[in-house]
Symmetry: C2
Subunit: 311 residues, 2 copies
């Protein structure tokens, strides 16, 4: 399926429900809401599945498109969903069209429009909307910019390519409110998060001349900071800010007496080999494992193994 | 002067010295080094003025182009310099060509190529190089990406426009190593900076239901963190990360018993009016002043005045 046939197919259907994935991020929400908005401009009745997991930053952008309880969809479209396992509700076997950018897409839907080389699903929806409606509204541009900018880490992740920047230029030309998106998604955090970061930065210990950095996140810290689930994004990235560090380990204490350990490393240092020792896994540069013990003890264990595995 | 005439003029000269501004940033250094590199490809003898103020992150990108002590320039080009006051060495009255993007440029040079609507000088140099040499090398693209990304705060400042994103796309296509630039300029910091941020975040106090946030940076903190000049970039931005805060005040203790105060605010809250009370000044959303007293006392004074001025 190409962008023209996908656009054409969408416009022949009515009562469309657009579905986002579980643990919804900016790309699935922004792409879905922009598509919904554009389909309505194209004369279609379209709604978003009211995904109960959408967080407080994304909710204001999505909830006005949430389907009412009595909506009976005739055509179901999934956005940014690579696998049927990623539904947070019973949509398995019911999706008519899947729009996605993950090369790993399992083609679970009746029809699929997958462009695997795109950094974000928002870039695919941008092309789709331009094909359906010839133009993009400022609201749609803002929604797509949320998807593009969050999926590329504000153009800092290594999926950021020339096409991502070209799409950003187009969205700005179409009136995307990038300053608000930047403020909400990349700049502002709660006072609890600030307090938590202060404590995590203070906890960082260095080993092997600073090449290993370990950050601890204890239950006491979370309690003292008053941190909620929304405040815990990318904690594993904090220790990695240290210049000297090539291997970053974040040990997060859990209620059951175990610690969840996230390991991040530069190329040449194998995070997954270190986590495999504790029954965990992942990729060479990002892996994880669960280890029982106090955070201090788990820190010692992890550093010991890291010193063994990484010579 | 347009881009063609500027390119033509540059290529008719020999023994070119390219000058960066005082307190050199990524845009002046990246643009100057890229221009130097491109002029050499165009068969010119060109060097950079060995600006002694270039910091440790930018130095590796510039120093190989530093003019030897016996170099006798015949044509002097300034890059990203709006005013003759911004030279860190005696170049007043000696500049043959000024290439700049500041609308406030004072036209101090013999000839000027100023494009005031560009977010970065790097975008102007990009057009210039494409005009001179028809292509851009990966090294030049990387240098220009340093200029573009640092002057736009990695595409988060409000000067970020469609042209900035279009230039970024072009630089990526030309082989810019954006991952290294992102790591060096936006991600990695020293362990001392991490420690200092931990202490500053811990120091933040809130007033008026969280709408005013005050951060303290004391001499003791700087000493305990082991922070050097390079670790003090944009400290005034840290308090501004708090979601609730509309007015952010950063009080930095100085050796002479005074405090340097930076005030940042959202539209509608006048930072400069608050600083004016203490003999300072600036813009509505970013202002500063110097106040004698301990950081705690200055914090109290500032909050008192802020409550008066901002009703």
């Amino acid at each position: 399926m190409n962008v023209e046939s996908c656009a054409k197919r969408l416009l022949t259907h009515e009562n469309i429900l657009i579905v986002t994935h579980k643990n919804p991020d900016g790309d699935t929400c922004g792409s879905a809401a922009a598509l919904c908005c554009a389909l309505r401009r194209g004369g279609r009745r379209a709604w978003l599945f009211p995904n109960p997991q959408i967080g407080r930053k994304l909710l204001p952008y999505c909830e006005k498109y949430f389907a009412p309880a009595d909506f009976k969809p005739k055509y179901i479209v999934s956005v940014d969903i690579a696998d049927a396992k990623l539904f947070c509700h019973g949509f398995e076997g019911k999706v008519d069209l899947c729009i996605d950018h993950h090369p790993s897409n399992t083609h679970f839907a009746e029809a699929s429009f997958v462009v695997g080389e795109k950094a974000s699903c928002a870039e695919i929806v941008l092309e789709l909307i331009e094909c359906m409606n010839a133009d993009i509204t400022p609201e749609e541009a803002t929604l797509l910019y949320i998807g593009l900018s969050t999926d590329t880490g504000c153009f800092q992740y290594n999926n950021t390519d020339a096409a991502a920047f070209t799409a950003a230029a187009e969205l700005v030309r179409c009136g995307a409110d990038i300053m608000t998106v930047n403020t909400v998604f990349f700049r502002k955090v709660t006072a609890a998060r600030i307090k938590l970061e202060s404590m995590i930065y203070d906890s960082i210990r260095f080993f092997r001349d600073g090449k290993i950095a370990v950050a601890l996140v204890t239950l006491k810290m979370l309690r003292e900071a008053g941190a909620g689930e929304d405040d815990l994004d990318d904690l594993a990235g904090l220790a990695g800010r240290c210049e000297s560090s090539l291997l970053n380990i974040t040990v997060r204490e859990k209620e059951d007496g175990s610690c969840r350990v996230s390991v991040r490393s530069v190329p040449g240092v194998d995070s997954s080999a270190i986590c495999a020792v504790f029954g965990g896994g992942g990729h060479a540069m990002a892996a994880g494992c669960t280890v029982f013990g106090t955070p201090e003890h788990v820190c010692e264990l992890m550093v010991g193994v890291a010193e063994e595995v990484w010579r």
